[in-house]
């Protein structure tokens, strides 16, 4: 019974992670501007990796495999935001302009 509950939990985590990955990929293709694409890819990348590797950790049970998967998760949690930050900052310094919608009513300046 407990095994079945853990299995179902890991299935839910794995599939949710996969679906979040596809959503990030769709955002990467369809969003209009570099910074929105960075948002879609950078945010879902971290969440997708987190959910999928947590699901795999539950599947793997308690062994050396679990430690290695947890290390992968740790490295991804550090490196993915760092890479996103470096990309955003270098694009901004390099003059890739953000796309701004002018709202005509409120912002008078």
């Amino acid at each position: 019974m407990a095994d079945l509950a853990l299995d179902i939990l890991s299935w839910v985590l794995l599939l949710t992670g996969g679906i979040f990955g596809v959503m990030g990929g769709l955002g990467l293709v369809r969003f209009p501007d570099f910074y929105t694409r960075l948002h879609a890819a950078g945010v879902t990348d971290t969440l997708c990796a987190l959910l999928i590797i947590l699901g795999l950790i539950i599947q793997a049970g308690l062994s050396i495999l679990t430690v290695k998967l947890a290390l992968i998760l740790l490295f991804l949690m550090f490196t993915a935001p760092t890479a996103s930050h470096a990309l955003a900052r270098s694009a901004l310094v390099d003059g890739v302009a953000p796309r701004v919608e002018k709202s005509d009513a409120t912002d008078a300046d």
């Binding site: 299995d7 890991s10 299935w11 794995l14 599939l15 992670g17 996969g18 679906i19 990955g21 596809v22 990030g24 990929g25 769709l26 990467l28 293709v29 570099f34 694409r37 960075l38 890819a41 990348d45 997708c48 990796a49 999928i52 590797i53 699901g55 795999l56 599947q59 793997a60 062994s63 050396i64 495999l65 290695k68 998967l69 290390l71 992968i72 490295f75 991804l76 490196t79 993915a80 760092t82 890479a83 996103s84 470096a86 990309l87 900052r89 270098s90 694009a91 901004l92 310094v93 390099d94 890739v96």
Partner: protein
Amino acid sequence: MDTVLVMTTMLVFITMMLALIRALKGPTIYDRILAVNVFGTKTVLVVALISLLKGHSDLVDVALVYALINFIAIVAVLKLVKMGNLGDAGEGDITDG
């Protein structure tokens, strides 16, 4: 269990395909680097999924090393694009601004 792992792998493959589309289309160089970054992260996940799917627990080491190399490669390529040279530092560097 195997069915769910295969379905997740397929979903990650779809994401990799979408990232490749952006890498080919990307108007700026940063779009391409971003797409390659996503592709590399998803490669790590696919290698980890395949290692549990086939029961080859050695493959997890490959995923671990790939996660590190992917990050180093992204930062190095970014620096090469920004500075034109891996050795230079200073004005306009990737940590500048």
